[in-house]
Amino acid sequence: MRPSRWTRVALHLANLAVIGFFLLPLIAVTFAALQSEKSLHADTRGLWPPEWTLDNFRVILSGGAQRGKVFEQATYLPDNIKKFHYALINSTVISVSVTLLTLIFASLTAHTVVRLRARWVMWLLGANVFARFVPVIVLMIPLYVVFRQMGMLNSVWGVIIAETGFLLPYGILILVPYFATIPQELDDAARIDGCSRFSAFLRVTLPLSTPGLASYGAIVFVIAWNDLLIPLILNNRAEFMTLPVMIASLVGDVFAFFNLTMAICLIALAPTVILVLLLRRFVVQGLSAGAVKG
């Protein structure tokens, strides 16, 4: 059924409204990141800045060394800006490690859930469904005390371990239904050809699960990159901050004006937004698998 002309006009307008709502923050962040503090002050009513500049990015990416025209007269820059490259490196190292570790751990467990079906494994799966609901703040208070006693505060490893543990249940829930679609006969055939059970897993299940692993990998990377509370509580020294923690540290800093903070936000959101748009199909599959089945 083709909708009538007026219905279609109404639907176009509805789409326009939804797109506008979804993109509003992206437009706003770009608007503020590409101008100077002076021009934000000069015109507080307009939607088109008198001049555009990339100086905000220059000062951030050079850690305050290159100031450009915009920051020439600035006598004070937030301390953390000078350590911006640490945040960028920490975020990358942590998200990549968490993604790899959870992929390995979760696929090992998902395989045993699908092929073994022992009672204790099913119990483990049920525990994972529950674990998904535990709010991070509940875990972070005891983890802070434990990590403090073990001397693991302010380290990249502490955050990697905590995030891996926190995201593992979700991964198992996404991978189990995916592994279940791979026919047992393929496993059996590999065994007849001389594979051990474990190498059948490595050579048959894993290669056939690439789309499932991509779905889960993309989702974990996004969640790990975006996570605030875990690194916020475990790491407070600038050398160990991640990008979200750095952004949180600038909230309420009177010297970090919107042009600067918005430029940092734009740098922080670019990798995940691009990744998600590129891997759209996989992310969609993973999100629906993790929520419904399990």
């Binding site: 962040v29 005891p142 059970r197 918005m262 999100l287």
Partner: protein
């Protein structure tokens, strides 16, 4: 299952032992990061733990004193109330919007729907703290993007302090939260729409049902199971909202946006670092969410039967 295959390999573990071996990394990580902290949080909530005790490493037992303190604390009760209002508002708005948008992107004859469908995931990918800070620029009284839009389009001539009014601040925090979590709900509903048999609609049209009637009598009843799943999932996550509060209001103005997670965080990690009280309040939150999780598991279990 494997019994049908007679082959045995000399250096192979039996299936049971292999299963245990393959689960060792998961079990160790979950024990360290999930199981032990959940137990330890309960332990801490019955002990006096603040900076001095952390330094000495001795936590004196105080019984239910921490719980007594939070339930006598006006701020904690306010935080619970705010959390309830926040959750009820954001989850309701989110589900209504998600159903509408899922139907919208399902329109195959409207080319703009394809653009919407492509962009659906964008808010999901934005780090919540960055999204929150961007919204606080949008809301800003002096420089804000929203006031600029109103001025430029001539809709208003006086600046509005969107996140600064105690009466509306909680909703100013809820909008960015809805913005961020909407994609997930839309995706699930859109996937469920694909599962509805188109012949049902055709049969209803033949019988003279209009679009509204088809929605009420076919679409909505068939979407009900997934709506319930979204309801439970989103409710339990909305109870733990944190990033947007930190980015936009830090609990203010006054105490208008103190929510449960913010209370636990402030108690535990700002002077006087009362970690025992923080743990007790977080545990109350966990128990509320745990009850929701039980409902969720029950629903899933009923669905797969």
């Amino acid at each position: 299952m494997q019994a049908a295959i007679p082959y045995r390999f000399r250096r192979e573990l039996p299936p049971g032992a292999l299963g245990v071996a393959m689960n060792i990394p998961t079990l160790l990580t979950l024990a360290l990061v999930l199981a032990y902290p959940i137990y330890y949080a309960a332990y801490l909530s019955f002990h006096k733990v603040s900076l001095a005790e952390l330094r000495r490493g001795i936590f004196p037992f105080v019984g239910l004193a921490n719980y007594q303190r939070i339930f006598e604390d006006r701020l904690f009760l306010l935080a619970l109330k705010n959390t309830l209002i926040f959750t009820a508002f954001s989850v309701t708005v989110e589900i209504v919007l998600a159903i509408a948008i899922a139907l919208l992107i399902d329109q195959k004859h409207v080319w703009t729907s394809r653009i919407t469908k492509f962009l659906i995931l964008v808010p999901y990918a934005v780090p919540p703290i960055a999204g929150g800070l961007i919204w606080s620029f949008i809301y800003s009284f002096e420089y804000g993007f929203l006031n600029r839009i109103l001025f430029t389009t001539g809709l208003s001539n006086s600046a509005v302090n969107w996140a600064g009014e105690p009466a509306t601040a909680l909703f100013a925090v809820a909008i960015p939260y809805i913005w961020r979590t909407l994609p997930f709900a839309i995706l699930l509903l859109h996937a469920a729409l694909q599962g509805i048999n188109q012949e049902l609609y055709e049969a209803a049209s033949v019988d003279g049902a209009g679009a509204v009637q088809r929605f009420w009598h076919i679409t909505l009843p068939l979407l009900r199971p997934i709506i319930v799943v979204i309801l439970v999932l989103r409710t339990s996550f909305a109870f733990a909202v944190f990033d947007e509060v930190l980015a936009i209001t830090q609990g203010g103005p006054g105490d208008a946006t103190w929510v449960a997670s913010w209370y636990s965080y402030k108690k535990g990690f700002s002077p006087p670092f009362d970690i025992g009280v923080g743990a007790a309040s977080a545990y109350v939150l966990a128990i509320i969410i745990g009850l929701l999780a039980i409902a969720y598991v029950g629903l899933i279990y009923r669905r797969t039967q």
